[in-house]
């Protein structure tokens, strides 16, 4: 029986006020990555090109928002994300690559890696996943990847980076499972979608939510790397992620450059993060009251 350490996503067991995992740098240290603010240009630039846009794009997006915010039920379903995904999927005639992707839900991810003396694991179901038949192209060239080896990871001395992590007994080391069996036609993870649960018990703060995004994206990339290349990485693996609470979006691109995570020096992985992007300014609802009865809620 080996005592090892695994990541916890359940924050209710720890006294919430003094969780030290508040900053992104913990997640960055665990995944041995360097952070770059803003998404890479080759992802944001195609959005401005008119042939990549939908017909009546603004109007259709606004309809999607109205559907999600005003006309929807209170059942736990993330309408907005599904509507936006549907809108993007309608671009298929012009962009055939979209047809080679599929949405998957509730898949169990398991990835484990050694960092120093401790074994870390990411396990769990994070939500939606867009998987595709082809891997994503790498974002950064070789030279920039080598430059990251000069960056130094932040040290948390005297606090150990494993503080606030749940310690779990593990009987099988090196579990790496991407959630799908062999022979699945869409093996490469393309984009993860993180939805903030409306459950107030396990509400994560924005920084913790972003850290969760980084950890799961990293887990997906690592599981894929182990499957494809074994222990030594030949080509960098790129995975994207989108996280939202309905109004504010966070975009993330993760490039796995190395699986040698036991030491602090060497090539680092890279994270491009765009935080707190608002889809719309406000979408408030005012109830129409007739004779002291709430009739209809009118959107402002």
């Amino acid at each position: 029986m080996i005592r090892l350490i695994a990541k916890t996503m359940r924050t209710d067991k720890i006294f919430k006020k003094y969780i030290l995992y508040d900053k992104l740098n913990w997640a960055l240290w665990l995944t041995k990555s360097s952070l770059i603010h803003g998404l890479p240009s080759h992802i944001t630039s195609p959005a401005a090109v008119p042939e990549n846009q939908l017909l009546n794009q603004d109007e259709r997006v606004q309809n999607a928002i109205k559907h999600a915010r005003f006309w929807d039920t209170t059942e736990p379903r993330n309408t907005l994300l599904h509507n936006l995904l549907h809108l993007c999927a309608t671009l298929q005639p012009t962009h055939p690559a979209i047809g080679r992707r599929i949405l998957a839900e509730n898949y169990s991810l398991a990835a484990s890696w050694k960092r120093g003396d401790d074994l870390f694991q990411v396990r769990g179901q994070n939500g939606l996943l867009h998987c595709s038949m082809d891997p994503l192209p790498r974002v950064c060239g070789e030279t920039e990847v080598l430059e990251t080896s000069d960056q130094i990871l932040e040290s948390f001395y005297p606090v150990s980076p494993t503080i606030d992590l749940q310690q779990v007994n593990v009987y099988k080391e090196e579990i790496n499972c991407s959630g799908f069996r062999e022979g699945y036609p869409y093996p490469h993870a393309h984009t993860l979608y993180f939805l903030e649960t409306p459950d107030s018990n396990s509400k994560l703060r924005p920084e913790q939510f972003r850290a969760k995004m980084i950890m799961f994206t990293f887990g997906n990339a690592l599981a894929r790397a182990h499957k494809l290349y074994g222990s030594v990485l030949e080509h960098p693996i790129t995975v994207q992620a989108v996280g939202t609470n309905g109004r504010i979006f966070q975009f993330l691109v993760f490039q796995l450059n190395t699986t040698d995570l036991s030491e602090d020096d060497g090539i680092k992985n890279q994270v491009w993060l765009e935080e707190d992007v608002e889809l719309y300014d406000f979408a408030k609802v005012r109830p129409l009251i007739k004779r002291k009865e709430v009739k209809v809620r009118i959107p402002l």
């Binding site: 006294f15 003094y18 030290l20 001395y157 005297p158 606090v159 150990s160 494993t162 503080i163």
Partner: protein, 297 residues
């Protein structure tokens, strides 16, 4: 519910052994079958007072936690329910934060080495006059009594090493008495090594290390009483936080009630020999060394 189970088992016991009650059964006129007579023979339990006592059972937790726990107030009452200490009762509800008084507590895997901890937060504690600090080091977090100039982000050191030269101690660090220079202000004094600090914990207090005598150290407590303890006892350096605690003005009777202090009796009573200023010599030095030679003296 436990009561009903007990009575039920007792009842079944009496039913299964009618031979034991044969003398009483013979005395009664045999009216019906065996069972009704057996039923009339058992006696239920009578309890007039609750079996549980309103004591400090809320404090029974084996694992250390930084989460504040709900506290039960005693109101000055003891286990019999009568008032043992007058003037205590009411006051604002308080949650107990478990302070770790044993400063030299190693983590399970890192025994024996001096370690450092980072102060995460210094905050008010309703249960004591001093402020408490949340410190995090290695894989654990704990509450300790904060010293005077402790702020969030400081790094404090705990060591059990007694070197030949005295250590130049920073405030907030914890060292054994034998490692500190004579004349340092100390607080959170341990009387016996490893027991945890029991002295000099109140707001603004500090003791003075007077001298070190072959293996023992003599500390002056805030009451000017002198105490001789082993030099391996751990103390923290500096004054306890919240030094202006004795300068606060209560202002009104209500504030005292918020603190849980009930009014004293307003009746005028003649004061006896206990009242008035006393000028006496200091009591002799108390020694906590437990050496056979000292007890023989």
């Amino acid at each position: 519910m436990a009561l009903k189970c007990l009575t039920r088992t007792l009842r079944s016991l009496t039913l299964s052994q009618p031979a034991l009650l044969s003398s009483q059964a013979a005395a009664q006129p045999k009216l019906g079958a065996q069972v009704p007579s057996a039923i009339s023979l058992y006696r239920g339990f009578l309890t007039t007072a609750s079996l549980e006592q309103n004591r400090t059972l809320w404090k029974n937790m084996d694992k250390y936690t930084i989460k504040p726990m709900g506290m039960k107030k005693t109101g000055g009452r003891d286990h019999t329910g009568k008032i043992r200490t007058r003037g205590i009762g009411g006051g604002h509800k308080q949650k107990y934060r478990w302070v770790d008084f044993q400063r030299l507590r190693y983590e399970p895997s890192k025994e024996g080495r001096p370690f450092e901890e980072k102060v995460v937060e210094v905050r008010y504690d309703p249960c004591r006059s001093a402020d408490i600090a949340l410190v995090a080091g290695g894989n654990r977090k704990r509450w300790i009594i904060a010293t005077e100039n402790m702020q969030a982000g400081d790094i404090i050191k705990t060591s059990a090493v007694i070197g030949r030269m005295a250590v130049s101690a920073n405030e907030g660090d914890a060292y054994p008495l034998g490692a500190l220079p004579v004349g340092t202000l100390v607080n959170n004094l341990e009387i016996q090594p490893g027991k945890g600090s029991e002295y000099i914990r109140a707001a603004g207090t500090s003791g003075v290390l007077l001298r070190k005598v072959n293996g023992t150290a003599i500390v002056q407590l805030p009451s000017k009483q002198q105490v001789q303890v082993l030099e391996t006892c751990i103390v923290t350096v500096g004054r306890v936080s919240n030094i202006d605690h004795n300068k606060r003005i209560i202002g009104k009777a209500g504030r005292n009630r918020w603190l849980g202090i009930r009014p004293s009796s307003g009746l005028w009573k003649r004061k006896g020999g206990w009242a008035g200023r006393k000028i006496k010599p200091l009591p002799p030095m108390k020694s906590y060394i437990n050496l056979p030679s000292i007890s023989a003296n």
